[in-house]
């Protein structure tokens, strides 16, 4: 018998919460009641057994991606591989770098296929797949302290913007990072692409050899980590403002490269309270605005500090 995922509503009674093993999804669809129901039922149906599907190919998913050939079979696994392929020639990257975004995309695609929806999103622990139809938009907010009210930055994604995926990476998160960014949030055309790109940019925000940065082989923390014995960031001590800038510069350069290659639409890099925004304001996504709801916070981020959250957008 297939293991059943946990299925429940969040307290507002509108957002569906799905959880299975390490996968944790918040799902919301907007449209007619019957279509929403059909979409949620489809989401649950697709989610059931999805983790098993991935785990069937886990060893290969944890292996550095071949830039040319994909030996993976599952549709989600192949999507993960495709998302990391653009980076595989120049970087160590495994398909696991895009797992969260790829799962979000898969569930969203299933929902949209099941029923026509005005808007929908699947948020997989901060890696978000978006669906928009005519006239619709999402307002995406960045928060640095989930335990406090207030947004740090917001961005509006319109239906005619290319962005359909948002992802965040950083060393505080559940996945390990080779870099020191507190959070790198990326907007891209797909959630899988955003997920992979955020990983690469967050890894690039770094000060190699800096004495206050504590690093540890990944497999000493998690014996079966896909990063093997590579050093992952465990703590970032005091950095001078110029060191912080230098680290962000490195990430900034990487983000601009990816922007130029058309792999991302925008990125926001955050380290020790400093923020860099890379993006193309002219394309309508408008990069990431300073939020009018709350000023930029200088408080040191804590664990889980870099969640991007989707807010109810004002409809045009």
């Amino acid at each position: 018998m297939t293991r059943q995922p946990q299925v429940g509503w969040l307290s507002d009674g509108k957002r569906l919460h799905l959880q299975d093993g390490p996968i944790d999804l918040i799902v919301e669809a907007q449209g007619s009641a019957i279509n929403i129901r059909a979409a949620y039922a489809a989401a649950i149906g697709r989610f059931t057994g999805l983790l098993d599907e991935l785990c069937a190919e886990l060893p290969l998913l944890r292996t550095a991606a071949d830039p040319v050939r994909c030996a993976l079979q599952g549709i989600v696994a192949r999507r993960m591989h495709a998302a990391v392929t653009p980076f595989a020639a120049d970087h160590f990257i495994t398909p696991m770098a895009a797992v969260a975004g790829s799962v979000a995309e898969e569930i969203l695609a299933t929902m949209v296929q099941a029923a026509p929806l005005d808007r929908a999103y699947v948020n997989n622990g901060g890696d978000i797949a978006l669906h928009l139809t005519n006239g619709e938009a999402f307002t995406v907010g960045l928060i640095d302290r989930p335990d406090r009210l207030g947004l740090m930055r917001t961005a509006k994604v319109h239906v005619d913007d290319p962005t359909r995926g948002i992802a965040t990476s950083g060393w505080h998160g559940r996945s390990f990072s080779l870099g020191i960014a507190d959070a790198v949030t990326v907007m891209a055309s797909t959630a899988a692409q955003a997920d992979a790109a955020a990983t690469i940019i967050a890894n690039a925000v770094d000060l190699p050899g800096h004495p206050t940065i504590v690093r540890c082989p990944a497999n000493e923390l998690q014996p079966d980590s896909d990063l093997g014995s590579r050093l992952v960031t465990r703590d970032v001590g005091f950095l001078t403002p110029s060191e912080t800038s230098a680290a962000l510069d490195a990430g900034d350069t990487m983000a601009r490269q990816l922007l130029g290659r058309g792999l991302i639409e925008a990125a926001a890099l955050r380290l020790k309270g400093e923020i860099r925004v890379v993006g193309l304001p002219s394309r309508g996504a408008n990069g990431l605005h300073r939020s009018s709801l709350a000023g930029e916070s200088m408080i040191l981020p804590e664990r889980h500090s870099h969640l991007a959250s989707v807010q109810e957008g004002a409809r045009p």
């Binding site: 059931t48 983790l51 098993d52 785990c55 014996p223």
Partner: protein
Amino acid sequence: MTTDTTAADKIRCDACPVMCYIKPGAAGACDRYANHDGQLVRVDPHVLLERTVSHGGRLVPFQAGGDWDGKIVHEPDVFVTAIGAGTTYPDYKPAPFIVSSEIDGVDMVTVVTEGIFSYCGVKVKIDTDRFLGPETATVRVQGEAVGHVTTGEYGSQMLSLGGVHHLTGGSKKEGRVTCDALMDLSNCKPVEMTIDGGATVVVQAGHPPIVNGVAEERMRVGCGSATIGMFAKQWHGKVDDVVVVDDHITGVLSEHQAGKVLDIADTGIKMKGRRSTPGRYFQVAEPGTGWGGTQISDPLTILGPFDPKVAKPGTTLLMVSTTGEHAAYYELDDNLKPVEKKMPADLRFSVERIQENCEPALCTVLFMGGAGGSLRAGVTDNPVRLTRSVKDALTRVTSGGVPVYVWPGGGITFMVDVTRLPAGAFGYVPTPALVAPIEFTMRLSDYAALGGHMDHVRPLASLTANETRLVASPSPKAGARS
């Protein structure tokens, strides 16, 4: 959880198919399960859910029915039962274990003691229509009175056994035998008892009763009248008349309302017994262990002569008991006397259908006891506050981890299905009295407020292995142990 034998320090989590290897002090990929000193522990029940709950949010299961269930799964929390906790009598000392554990993020305490119950007994429900003995008749074990037959319930005979008078009010032997019988019944062991003016019955919780050496198989499908109502359509056109023999109400198809609706003609049948309403007869025979809970073995003895003005030779008649265990088929001869014949297949089928609709007959045993003053003193220095706390639903009472029904009114008198307790949960003291597990679970703050023995509260983790025995986590839906 499986322990990795090649690397003793890490464990492999089997909570999900990722099957993470987790080092001591570390968490798996999900951040939910961690290795705590070699034990797999749940560390972060659910960040989002927890936040929702702690913010007073509402959790609504997604229920669309059908293929997937929308339940919000609860991890089986470790629950400490009182079985084997030991106790003292009189219970002026703090209960042996007063354990605190986290449940839903609330600091909970479980006060664990084994209660000594002088005021206790068992209520036995025996699924049979067979006559076990008249109401109020004495029930004996080894010749000693241990209780009595009480008012019957639907399809079942009821016994009320034990109680303070049999335990301590009679002879020393009566008390000891009663105590043993209660303990054996509560521990799901078979007990043979005889009922004055009635049957010998072997009662074992969760098993069919054995009445006068014969194991009961089924409960009746309904009384004779109900059976006529249920099966009238299936008999229509296949037989001229049907008598469903029952100790309580015997039904006759041709006279019954269900037969009238189907235009079934009079057959001239004459029933013995007292007619209640058309087609329904009380007291067609004495209660017994024969047909339909009566004493009869030849069903024709409950029929009078057929009315010669109405009855015709060749009229067919089915007689069947309310469990379908007894059935016979007759045709009237030229003298209008019923003569048994081979039953036609479609009537045989209807008899089997009655059998199929009878549920398995079981004995069920509810232990019933009252938590008196001294037991409560083991929990708190102000015993009445515990009682009030239970009444106010601040304190949850369980027995061996099994939910109980707390009888309203004064005191803490509860009932519990003994089949749901772990094996050997009940004991005795020579008083004589039964020792039964009882747990009171409440918030730590509520425990302090009702005068709890705060200096004796121990964290759950401090119970060492030789003090504990793990049993299946209690659940209101848990089935009977087999």
